[in-house]
Symmetry: C2
Subunit: 260 residues, 2 copies
């Protein structure tokens, strides 16, 4: 009596609950997939800008004095290496996070079809079971025997399909939690690998910058402005401008006036 | 003679060399500024996507079984914390790398005006000096004395301005190397601070994911599909469907047929 009265409601409720659970996973895994993909794309854009930075530092370094040139070149070498690791990060995230989430869409669809078939069978059998119960109650006559055997078969089928549905949804849930744990663990591992490399590389890059000897470069810059032959010419000019004063002592007075 | 013949060329060459050096710094610091700014913007875009990811993980976690919910929520908490550090990274890079490079444009302009004035004075004085030399050589008469005193003053002025120019360009070079070292060191320090925090935070985030107990969640999911009153109704139905078989032994044959 209770099953006839409230059974179908409970079944509908359970059916709805399972369908909602699967749709919910489908929806959220889809959104996670899109946002992770966007995160990976932005990481790739960041790598692009870092590559431009590497090229510009090389270009600038080439125009500079030796110490600055070497320091900046070494920095750019290290920074370029980091971008290779960022590229590896992008490819790994694509393969281990975005792709599994994307293919999960297909998996969820297949599992939903699976579930739908099982749910349909379960509902059909449950209806048949309650139909037979009604027949049995209305006809306690000779048709009773056939009804009883059909009732028994329907009952066993319903039980078997129920167990099957339970297994299907159980596997779905188990797989889902496992996949989430796997995907998020992969994400963290890939990111940590990159951040660890970044620390290592920046430590070397920092030394490249700190090692730039400004005084040596300053000397180089100065001597580039005063080539040796120019310097000697300057000495000749100075000697020339002094010599008249030394040669003619009568100039001492007038030169003294100018100096005061 | 050498100065009259090749001096102006050497001076022009030096002037061009200094101007080129300053223009080169202006050009490359400008480009570095733009690319660093783009790098910072892309980092901010990455943070935006990560923020979306945080929100989506919270939204999904809210729909899930307790262990998954807590695990994902803890992960999102950690990941959100990392985005706060990324925001700090963005602000620090803006303040310590992009701004100094941007304001360097103004500094370079001022220094270039400075250099231009000094170079102009130096060139004017050098011309005056060579003019006086010519006058001295052509007029060994009474105007010679005035010419000699003017020559001496012009020579001293040229020497003083030369020294001034040397100091100006020296300071410019010194400041430039110091600023490059400072800006790149700040860049590396800010990035390392972020990567260090990332490693720390991801270590905690990894634990949040690993700690998710799938078996406990599976039990919760199962019992949510079979509420206690439904379970008891199911038992009643099973008892009802079994009772006719137990009551009527004549059904054994037909039920056996169904089972084979």
């Amino acid at each position: 009596m209770m099953m006839l009265g409230r059974g179908p409601d409970a079944r509908d409720n359970q059916t709805r609950q399972i369908r909602d659970a699967v749709s919910n996973v489908e929806k959220h895994f889809g959104e996670l997939c899109q946002i992770f993909a966007a995160y990976v794309r932005k990481t790739a854009r960041l790598r692009d800008k870092a590559d431009l930075l590497v090229n510009e530092i090389y270009a600038y370094a080439a125009t500079e004095t030796p110490n600055l040139r070497v320091g900046l070149k070494n920095f750019a070498d290290e920074f370029a290496k980091l971008q290779d690791y960022r590229q590896a990060e992008v490819e790994r995230l694509e393969a281990k996070v975005v792709e599994p989430l994307k293919s999960y869409g297909t998996i969820v669809k297949l599992k939903r079809d699976d579930l739908k078939a099982t749910l349909t069978a379960k509902n059909r059998e449950a209806k048949q079971l309650s139909q037979l119960e009604k027949t049995r109650q209305r006809n306690p006559s000779d048709r009773h025997i056939i009804a009883e055997s059909e009732l028994q078969r329907a009952s066993m089928d319903a039980t078997r399909t129920s167990r099957q549905l339970e297994e299907t949804i159980d596997n779905f849930e188990k797989q889902k939690i496992k996949d989430i744990k796997d995907i998020f663990s992969e994400f963290v591992t890939i990111e940590m690998l990159f951040h660890g490399k970044a620390l290592e590389i920046y430590t070397a890059a920092y030394q490249s910058i700190q090692n730039i000897d400004e005084n040596e470069d300053l000397e180089v810059f100065r001597s580039s402005l005063h080539p040796p032959d120019y310097q000697s010419r300057l000495d000749i000019v100075r000697a020339n401008s002094k010599s008249p004063l030394q040669r003619n002592s009568s100039l001492k007075f007038s030169s003294g006036m100018v100096q005061n």
